[in-house]
């Protein structure tokens, strides 16, 4: 599905962080937690490629994207205004499975990788699952989204690398004290974090699904530019993922 979506709001949160709200009932109807929209930040040839963003939250026909300005594309996105239309391809990719097979979910997010976890957490709550939630950030300036998780009724433990907010350390420091064989971990964040979480889970024989956020070209499986190594050869993050069983991947 490729369409011009109405920008309902493009709100600055703090620092480099914004929430883009699109009004689009078709996307809202179809989207599943973990999926992404491939957004053309403006209709021009610079930047040329679309940019992928997880779906952060759905409310009726409103689709929220939580994003961090890190370069040209996200900067241009931050300048887009309410009432304008923006070209979106999606929802794309696979999703977090809410079939837990009796396991207790633990959601682990790092930095902007927390984005798909709100949507997933809300889905789990709808299905009457409780969960553990650990979110890690570099420092207090990067701590975002907590009010949204709290408002949805999720209990969050926060870590910062420098200890400026919450627990000082990495998400894995908290995770390793809690991991239990009845858990299933769902993680999204920078690759080094996902590797650490995945290693920890395999040590404890806990199943772990990770969502990979790498650089993309087409976003729908044809350019073969976004691949990640796995035991079954290279996997396309955009089409075979972004959510993978961590034990299948080669970090």
């Amino acid at each position: 599905m490729i369409q011009e979506c109405l920008i309902h709001e493009n709100r600055h949160l703090k620092g480099r962080f914004y929430i883009l709200t699109l009004k689009d009932s078709q996307i809202a109807e179809k989207a599943q937690p973990g999926q992404f929209l491939h957004i053309q930040v403006q209709s021009s040839i610079q930047p040329l490629l679309r940019r992928p963003f997880s779906i952060y939250r759905l409310r009726d026909s409103f689709v929220d994207i939580l994003y961090e300005v890190i370069g040209e594309g996200t900067h241009i996105l931050s300048l887009r205004s309410k009432g304008e239309y923006i070209n979106c391809h999606g929802p794309l990719g696979n999703c977090f499975s809410d079939d837990l097979s009796g396991k207790h979910p633990v959601l682990v997010g790092g930095g902007i990788g927390i984005a798909p976890l709100l949507f997933f957490g809300e889905r789990l709550l709808e299905k009457s699952h409780t969960m553990e939630l650990i979110l890690g950030y570099r420092s207090e300036d990067d701590v975002i989204g907590l009010e949204d998780f709290n408002q949805s009724g999720m209990n969050v433990e926060v870590t910062t690398n420098d200890g400026s907010y919450g627990y000082k350390g990495f998400v894995t420091d908290l995770l390793k004290d809690q991991l239990h064989k009845d858990h299933k971990v769902f993680a999204c964040g920078p690759i080094p974090m996902l590797k650490a979480v995945s290693d920890l889970c395999s040590q404890h024989e806990v199943p772990c699904d990770v969502s990979i956020h790498n650089f993309m070209g087409c976003g729908f499986g044809v350019c073969l530019g976004c691949v990640f190594p796995s035991h079954k050869g290279y996997q396309r993050v955009c089409k075979d993922g972004p959510v993978f069983n961590a034990s299948h991947l080669i970090f």
């Binding site: 490729i2 040329l48 490629l49 790498n214 976003g219 073969l224 530019g225 691949v227 990640f228 290279y234």
Partner: protein, 303 residues
């Protein structure tokens, strides 16, 4: 109005084809539109065997373009013939198989296999890959190597043969002349420009392969000039590509001498772009009272 054009022995219902490596095996685009509306499809470059391609990082964005070193990941000719061709044969559209090898023998074996695949309209030889036996230089950059390769391929097949030229040469017109004299039916150009990006923090190349191929609108004016050069040197049809994003871009190539065009990188941004280009060419012809799109080919008015 007549949008038909021909590239050697292959008749196209319109001049808009899609470029190898940017349209998968065609079937990936079935959900976007009726593939039968296209002038032609050049599928992802095939090797005799399944190839896993390069390690990531494989792509990066550049000013108005992108750099790629996919490393020709592909399912191989047999799997293509078994899994993809039955689907593609349902559409009334010429299927051009882009293929490659790392030695002349591999190219020859690939051609022998492709000869037996039902429903292929023609072959497109990708010569922008390293000749591993002969030190890794790409086939398409040495005139002697290129002419020998094309001669041995030509002997092996009666299928219409298109050679896709590399732009990484001193005189692309000369290369066009060389392959024409080996009896090929048409010439497509350009493949990507050899290029590099460096991460100044790590001082490493951005792509794991070190170098990659540059494509997209940023290369278009160079591509147009190269198509113009080749079209002047050869009598066989030329298929132009490089950065086409809309109908006006496509028309530039035709006016420069291309009988048809291929859309590449633009498919990634807008999977329906080829249809928009076809419609745009139609509108242009209507507005300019052009009855036959072929009359545009090589109609450049040099000052």
């Amino acid at each position: 109005m007549d949008l038909r054009t021909d590239i050697g022995k292959i008749l196209l219902k319109n001049p808009v084809m899609v470029a190898s490596g940017t349209f998968g095996y065609g079937v990936e685009f079935e959900g976007f539109f009726d593939l039968g509306l296209l002038g032609g499809i050049s599928v992802k470059g095939l090797h005799l065997n399944k190839r896993q391609g390069n390690a990531p990082q494989r792509i990066m964005e550049t000013p108005c373009g992108m750099l790629n070193a996919i490393g020709l990941q592909g399912i191989g000719i047999e799997a293509f013939s078994r899994e993809k061709m039955p689907v593609l044969r349902k559409y009334d559209v010429p299927i051009i198989v882009n293929f490659w090898g790392t030695s002349t023998e591999e190219y020859e074996k690939a051609v022998e296999k492709l000869n037996d695949v039902e429903g292929i309209a023609g072959l497109e030889v990708n010569v922008s890959c390293p000749n591993i036996k002969e030190g890794g230089m790409t086939f398409g950059t040495d005139p002697k190597v290129l002419s020998q390769l094309i001669r041995s391929i030509r002997k092996k097949t009666a299928l219409p043969l298109m050679v896709k030229l590399s732009p990484n040469v001193t005189s692309v017109g000369e290369m066009g002349h060389i392959v024409e004299s080996e009896g090929v039916d048409s010439i497509s150009l350009i493949n990507t420009f050899a290029a590099m990006m460096i991460d100044v923090e790590t001082r490493k190349p951005v792509l794991s392969n070190g170098v990659g191929g540059l494509s997209g609108p940023g290369i278009r004016p160079i591509a147009v000039k190269m198509v113009w050069e080749v079209a002047q040197r050869v009598k066989i049809p030329v298929i132009g590509m490089g950065g086409i994003m809309n109908a006006r871009d496509a028309l530039e190539f035709m006016i420069a001498g291309a009988s048809a065009v291929q859309i590449g990188t633009a498919n990634f941004v807008n999977p329906r772009i080829s249809l928009e280009v076809i419609e745009g060419i139609k509108d242009y012809c209507l507005n300019h009272e052009i009855e036959d799109v072929k009359s545009l080919i090589g109609s450049l008015k040099m000052p």
